[in-house]
């Protein structure tokens, strides 16, 4: 279609009914509404008389639409989503596993769904026992002594965990100065340490991608508050000298913090509490199958050893002498609340449902299947993509774009091309210890058939990178919008829609019109 013949956005397109979707504000027309109220049968209140100047006459740009327009708008948008219920989500380090329907069923049971946080304790024994039982299960799974369920997500759990470490050191008379962080760590680790007032000291990995023991020994001193370690690491490798690492830290009075992001490789097999970890967080939205991303919300319980218990956020669930459960607020050394009420309770219900539905053997099987799936992908693709670290993989595998980069095709290009094959991209350019990283974590949820589809797609993309690199470098080709300008989005972010006065549109703004032209 030539530019001059383009007469405007077609109101209906044939390829996809959702091709052109205005913002809800742009669909608004004055006077439309999605409600009809019965006639007023009480005296009308004169708002202006009561409120004076602050009574609001102008509704601003609140959208005015009919009910079916609202329903269609959001239903259409919902079909633009890629979700775990549509296909595989091979994002490494994210553990995008299936969210079992039984979790949803249980969390919607009336007594649970309608519980109120201000209900008296005597009427809350059921929900408290859910928190208690989940706590007990997680303590057993991690091998730790105690736990708080309050933190709202992984990074929030890290923050809580390092605050506990800080409170512990302060109680010993010296908060200490620095936190050690391996170069393979999640970016949230150094951010956490900095927010908690610590200097970040970067710990270099050895040639196997693991903690360099000699370097660790050199760096740990009386100023070291903790090491924040992900185990298995972000390249999916178990730190085989974890005991030695813990001993080196403990000898100087430092603590071992474990980022539990990769706990899906350990559940039922080994316990952080047994290999020297002092404090760790879990991601219920990763390991324990609660929804991840988008809707969420997340949940990041923090488990710790006895020495850190006095500092746990309050309240904590305790069993009273009469056998009833209670919330204990009388904790003078507590770091305080880190979240309103008791955390994201709906996730506790789902995680507990998952744990109980699987049982110990089921959870162990889950771990084995997750590791098997990752190693299946590794075995099928290691001739196609470069594997920098040859150490045995656990639940995820990190390839690199080294071979494809020779024809100018980078990890990000192949990730975008994967979208054309109906998959979400893998994790791109992380961890940083692998140049051009392609990080894939299938989880136990995927069948061999689905894994084969992913493997075929990636092999096809590698072949395209060799024979027709432009095809990959300009991907995706099948989406509503093509390659977006990520740099411009970061340098000049447009974070807010603004009404256009007198109907004159900003010609540079990306509108459904320009998107349609692109298409």
């Amino acid at each position: 279609m030539s530019e001059t013949k383009f007469v405007g956005t077609p109101k209906k397109v044939t390829t996809h009914v959702n091709q052109n979707e205005d913002l809800i504000f742009e669909k608004s027309a004055a006077g439309k509404k999605a409600y009809r109220l019965a006639e007023l049968d009480v005296p009308a209140v004169d708002a202006a008389a009561l409120l004076g100047d602050v009574a609001r006459a102008d509704l601003g740009v609140m959208p005015e639409l009919s009910e079916i327009e609202i329903i269609r708008h959001f239903t259409r948008l919902s079909t633009w989503n890629y979700a775990i219920d549509l296909g595989m989500y091979p994002l490494g380090s994210c553990t995008m596993k299936y969210n079992p329907r039984v979790n949803e069923l249980v969390s919607r049971l009336e007594g649970i769904a309608e519980a109120h946080p201000y209900q008296p304790e005597s009427l809350s024994q059921g929900v408290l026992s859910i928190m208690k039982l989940l706590s007990d299960c997680l303590v057993e799974i991690t091998g730790m002594d105690t736990i708080t369920l309050q933190p709202a997500a992984g990074a929030h759990g890290e923050f809580t965990g390092i605050l506990l470490a800080r409170a512990y050191h302060e109680a010993q008379g010296n908060p200490r100065k620095k936190v050690l962080i391996p170069d393979s760590a999640h970016g949230t680790n150094p951010a956490t340490a900095a927010v908690c007032g610590y200097q970040v000291a970067n710990l270099k990995s050895n040639a196997q991608g693991m903690v360099d023991i000699a370097e660790l020994e050199r760096m740990v001193d009386e100023d070291t508050a903790a090491l924040m370690l992900t185990n298995p690491s972000t390249i999916g490798v178990f730190e085989s000298e974890i005991h030695k690492i813990a001993d080196i830290l403990h000898a100087k009075g430092a603590l071992l913090y474990m980022d539990g992001a990769n706990m899906n490789a350990l559940v039922g097999k080994t316990r952080p509490g047994d290999f020297g970890v002092d404090v760790m967080h879990l991601n219920l939205h990763k390991t324990f199958s609660t929804p991840h991303g988008g809707g969420g919300p997340g949940s990041g319980p923090v488990a710790c050893k006895k020495i850190l218990e006095p500092f746990l956020p309050k309240p904590v669930v305790v069993t009273r002498p009469d056998g009833l459960l209670s919330l204990d607020y009388d904790r003078p050394q507590s770091i305080g609340r880190v979240r309103m009420f008791y955390g994201n309770f709906g996730m506790f219900v789902r995680a507990l449902a998952y744990i109980l539905a699987n049982g110990p053997d089921g959870l162990r099987q889950t771990t084995e299947d997750a590791v098997l799936n990752a190693n299946y992908i590794r075995a099928k693709l290691e001739d196609t993509f470069e594997l920098q670290f040859k150490t045995r993989s656990l639940h995820e595998v990190v390839f690199s774009d080294k071979r494809q980069a020779k024809s100018g095709v980078k990890t990000g290009d192949m990730g975008k091309r994967l979208i054309d094959y109906g998959f979400h991209a893998y994790t791109v350019s992380f961890p940083m210890v692998v140049q051009g990283a392609m990080m894939i974590e299938p989880t136990e949820s995927e069948s061999r058939e689905e894994l084969d589809l992913l493997i075929d797609a990636l092999k096809q993309i590698a072949q395209e990178a060799e024979e027709n690199p432009e095809l990959v470098k300009t991907a995706p080709h099948t989406t509503r919008l093509r390659r977006l300008d990520e740099t411009a989005a970061a340098r000049k972010p447009g974070l807010r829609w603004k009404p256009v006065p007198n109907g004159t549109a900003d010609p540079s703004a990306l509108t459904p019109d320009s998107a349609a032209k692109e298409w």
Partner: protein
């Protein structure tokens, strides 16, 4: 990529150019190229102390945030304010785009930094090319 012979280099990919007791610091061409499009540069304030081998700021690209390590110890005398609004200058010409100027405490410590030739050898080893 080019690495001026009159600069000194760190293994963390910063360069320093020295004029008497004054040093000018930026990141190398290799650094900007591996980072990709830089979208934000976080620098210290004039008067701040920087220490050799320690973090003095960070650069954010579309891929990641990376720390900046000071090649020398001293006091910041000038900060390149242009980079606030135009971080892309670092991508356009890393050798000509300085980040901070420093009053050097001990010009002697620069002897331990890499020469242009050694730096090139170092990145060749690091990238395996």
């Amino acid at each position: 990529m080019s690495y001026p012979a009159d600069f000194k280099y760190t293994k963390e990919h910063e360069w320093i150019s020295v004029d008497g007791a004054k040093g000018t610091v930026g990141i190398t061409d290799y650094a900007q190229s591996s980072l990709g499009d830089i979208v934000f540069v976080d620098l210290p304030k004039v008067g701040d102390k920087v220490k050799a081998g320690e973090i003095f700021g960070s650069v954010e690209s579309v891929k990641a945030v990376s720390d900046l390590y000071s090649p020398a110890t001293g006091t910041v005398t000038e900060v390149n304010e242009e980079l606030k609004d135009a971080p892309e200058k670092v991508n356009a010409d890393a050798n000509a785009t300085w980040m901070i100027k420093v009053d050097l405490e001990n010009a002697g410590e620069l002897d331990s930094l890499l020469s242009a030739a050694d730096y090139e050898k170092f990145i060749a080893e690091e990238t395996g090319h």
